[in-house]
């Protein structure tokens, strides 16, 4: 059985989708990811979809679900690397991925996650940082 790997990177989970997902694979990813968030206490989930050439309403729903599930498990989700043709198609299809944070690439996605987590926590580290 194929599986989408979920990598741990500090307080974040990193998922790179390299294949076109069929339904079962996508549903498993959804379940695995929520499990991993719970198990590792991850603060953020970064989903890289730069290799995904098709997002239909089913896939869109899976991405939305992952974001909302992570949210209620206290983790932020950022989707990065969407191909321009996919973005055009999603909007014409009528699927604006409401409630899903996106960033152009992994680097900017990481920055966004860090910023969101710092914002949520207001950590003392940041508080006394006076550089």
């Amino acid at each position: 059985m194929e599986k989408i790997p979920i990598l741990r990177m500090g307080p974040f989970l990193l998922v790179t989708i390299q294949v076109d997902l069929y339904d079962r694979l996508a549903e498993n990813l959804e379940a695995d990811l929520v499990q991993m968030v719970s198990k590792t206490g991850a603060m953020g989930v970064l989903i890289d979809i730069s290799a995904v050439s098709i997002i239909d309403s089913f896939m869109g729903r899976i991405i939305g679900n992952i974001a909302s599930m992570s949210k209620i498990m206290d983790a932020e989700t950022v989707v990065v690397g969407m191909q321009p043709a996919v973005a055009i198609t999603l909007i014409e299809l009528g699927l604006p991925l409401k409630g899903v944070q996106c960033a152009l690439n992994v680097e900017r996605g990481m920055d966004l996650l860090r910023a969101k987590i710092a914002l949520n926590e207001g950590t003392p580290d940041d508080y006394f940082d006076t550089e």
Partner: protein, 138 residues
């Protein structure tokens, strides 16, 4: 203007695992006629939506993939045929936001926006046939 069929292939789609190979096949044809990436993506997304509908409501069926031409324009025509329960009210099913399943209800109207031509014929108790065309530059 009449539409000429240049090439035709039939693929049965009866289970979820057939979806990805079917999409790849559509992509091959679209690439072969030189369709641009954005139009290809729209066509394949539309194909994916329709084939999912067919699996979900029609218990699977057959898809004809055709290379067609009208005048100087080439395109891909997809015909989705199922022997499912049919759709009692097609105009209602074509409305944005309508769904009997637990999906988002973007299926048919969303799909229509992605293709150049869209036609749906449905007879309750006999089945549904959806035909879409995406012109190379359309």
């Amino acid at each position: 203007m009449t539409i000429l069929i240049l090439n035709k292939e039939m693929m049965p789609v009866v289970k979820e695992q057939d979806v990805v190979p079917f999409r790849n096949r559509v992509k091959e044809y679209a690439t072969k006629i030189g369709m641009g990436l954005v139009n290809q993506t729209k066509l394949i997304t539309a194909a994916s939506e329709l084939v999912r509908n067919m699996l979900k409501y029609g218990k699977g069926g057959k898809v004809y993939i055709e290379v067609v031409s009208k005048g100087r324009e080439n395109g891909i025509r997809l015909i989705f045929e199922d022997k499912g329960p049919g759709i009692p009210d097609v105009s209602l099913a074509m409305k944005d936001g309508f769904s009997t399943g637990k999906s988002l209800g973007l299926g048919l109207p969303g799909t229509r926006r992605l293709v150049s031509e869209f036609d749906i014929q449905s007879v309750v108790g006999e089945g549904t046939t959806v035909t879409v065309i995406k012109w190379k530059n359309g």
